[in-house]
Symmetry: none
Subunit: 411 residues, 2 copies
């Protein structure tokens, strides 16, 4: 099968947004071993959309289009494709009902313009939109298949999961490209590479490291019949884990907060969080996990010293003696959160996110993470450097704190 | 002038990297008012590179190519373009000297393969590479211009500065494309459009709406000599603000938390936050702003009813009488945070982020946002719908709460 990606949107041609949808779709196609030889991008213009569709149909069996499905006059994709193929547009009653229900659920009036999204080319299949009003459209002109999806990434991805992935799975079958990401935290990219140097020369699976903020991702890729590819990935994963042990915190889309949450659930333990420089980010990350209310009791964002005293019972003399950014204060914050929440575990994080407030002795990026349980305590000092920026330092501090929690629960 | 961008690289078609070069070049072209109607992406394959070049030359005067200039066998771009145009390749002695000097300066031996980069099509102009060894190549077949640049972003950008920008400036004579984004929250995309329907037909500036999660962006674009473009943007902005008033919360890269923070600073007021379903996200967003410690006193993430009682003094009978997700509890949380922090203002947010926990009467996505100050109180009910997902609902709730704060400070 030969595929082609066709992104529609004047904003792409003005460079106002980067086309991450195309890269995502390219990865999906690669996962199923589908050849992708060309990508095209055109603006919201009927004649040029039609020119691009004709070109794509002349050299591909599967054309994936995104963008231009909104309710405005600029949104021309479905109409243009229908026009190029000589298909009349018909109102689809199921789409009308979906749009009506979507607005009713929000207690809002649907504007007339939005019903334009219910105009579907004759004979086309509709892909329901779980996250919005614009449906996806599948047209099959003369043996080829055109799949038109919204440009909003979350809506497009929903349709890839619901429609495209099963469709590709049915039609590929022989050789597949499978990959698995092993996610590592607590060690930098070059140190990770040092430990697995020889494995980077493997051919099946190939292993490629990617540095992310506060994580290193190792992508294992195998191209073979499904069972062989799976066996190669399993062998590669075992080899990597043999070198890196519990530095590998998860696979694929696992997040550190999900992994920590699963460990808390398994141990039947609860946690509370006392945050200063992270400003609520640790609580936000922990509560991004569905069901986290079982183990996450409460969080306190004690930005000021006064809040650290009144909400966390930190003894005021600690500020004078050690400073607000110090091991003793991080520990006192954790103990305060634990006592107030009555939780098994508690985290306390204090640091300097910058851009101001650093000194030679306590520079921007200095962070203390404390973890206490009913038997003991641990505290770590991190120096993330000011280059990471305020939001980068906040993220790195949250990552270090969640990893401290994870490693404690593993032991 | 009509331009076309042609990105070369199999890694782009495998989705291993996102094509940020194309977005960068698109912005450069837009800045000089050059029309860009198409972008193409092809892999490292001679026949397909040549097909793409011929297509581009059939509809553009300026073709910007990136990628495939490296020293390996995969790097075919210059050779393929020369082949398509029937131009023989010649070794350029200046490029040979540059490569030799480049390696000598790094005390390294130049591998033989790298001298392949000195093969330049007959009659072509060389763009020196300040940051690497591969030169850029400019070819002018029959009135058109092809500019071939490396795919390494820093090297490509160096050539844009050294060659492309001056070249464009000379040929475009003062017309520029300028744009400004007006950011709107508190109203859906279609409702925003209803209010500015007639303005969407303006030609100078053009106004295009883009829906984002919890925001609508209106992009105003003017194409004219610089002062005229600026005046058109100012007039367009005034017209939009006339219709939307304080629904417009900012321009360009302004975030809601920055705008709210600036208003708190200007009013000399402090704020505290009591969060339930948002789990710390509001605190995280407020503290992403440098200097927020001046006005953000503290936050409490009271996920459990017990925490709402002990940390925020919510009266337990409210849970039985109204439920934890209710107006009275949102207000009680806000009052508790205000009292404990001694802040001027406080937010209280309670809701159901899902995916479980919803009922017919109180569905997933139901959120109450309360704001209290020293004189009064306000509380809003929102129904965001379960389709937004847990993280989407958390974000929409934080957006509604920050907007409630902003609008209060504006009055």
């Amino acid at each position: 099968m030969r595929a082609e990606i066709l992104s529609v949107g004047t904003e792409l041609l003005l460079g106002q947004i980067t086309d991450t949808n195309a890269a995502y779709l390219a990865r999906v196609l690669a996962d199923y071993g589908v050849n992708l030889f060309f990508k095209q991008t055109v603006g919201d213009n009927t004649a040029r959309i039609q020119m691009a569709v004709r070109l794509a149909l002349s050299r591909a069996d599967l054309v994936l289009m995104t963008g231009g499905l909104g309710p405005t006059e600029d949104d021309l994709t479905v109409e243009a494709v229908a026009g190029a193929l000589g298909l009349p547009l018909r109102t689809d009653p199921a789409v009308v009902a979906h749009i009506r229900a979507f607005f009713e659920a929000r207690r809002r009036q649907a504007p007339e313009s939005v019903y334009k999204q219910a105009l579907i080319p004759e004979g086309a299949q509709v892909i329901p939109n779980r996250r919005g009003t614009a449906p996806g459209v599948v047209i099959s002109p003369g043996g080829a298949t055109i799949v038109i999806m919204p440009g909003v990434p979350a809506e497009m991805k929903g349709m890839v999961e619901d429609f495209l992935t099963p469709w590709l799975r049915e039609r590929t079958g022989g050789i597949v490209i499978r990959s698995r990401v092993l996610r590592v935290t607590g060690l930098g990219e070059s140190a990770v590479e040092e430990r697995i140097k020889d494995l980077l020369h493997l051919e099946a699976p190939t292993i490629a490291p990617y540095a992310k903020l506060g994580e290193v991702h190792l992508r294992l890729t195998a191209k073979a019949p499904p069972e062989v590819a799976d066996a190669q990935l399993a062998a590669g994963e075992a080899a990597v884990r043999g070198r890196l042990g519990d530095l590998v915190f998860g696979t694929d889309s696992d997040s550190l907060e999900e992994v920590a949450g699963r460990l808390l659930l398994a141990a039947g333990k609860t946690v509370a969080v006392a945050e200063s420089c992270t400003g609520g980010l640790i609580g936000d990350r922990l509560t991004n996990v569905p069901g986290s209310s079982v183990y996450f009791l409460h969080g306190v964002v004690a930005y000021s010293n006064a809040a650290k005293v009144t909400l966390l019972d930190v003894a005021p003399h600690l500020f004078e003696q050690y400073g607000a950014v110090s091991e003793p204060v991080a520990l006192a914050m954790a103990y305060g959160a634990q006592r107030r929440a009555g939780s098994d575990l508690a985290l306390g994080v204090t640091g300097i996110a910058g851009p101001t407030g650093g000194t030679a002795e306590k520079p921007v990026g200095l962070v203390y993470c404390a973890l206490v349980d009913r038997e003991g305590e641990a505290v770590q000092e991190w120096r993330f450097g000011s280059e990471a920026g305020r939001r980068g330092i906040k993220f790195l501090a949250s990552q270090a704190a969640l990893n401290l929690l994870r490693l404690h629960l593993l032991r």
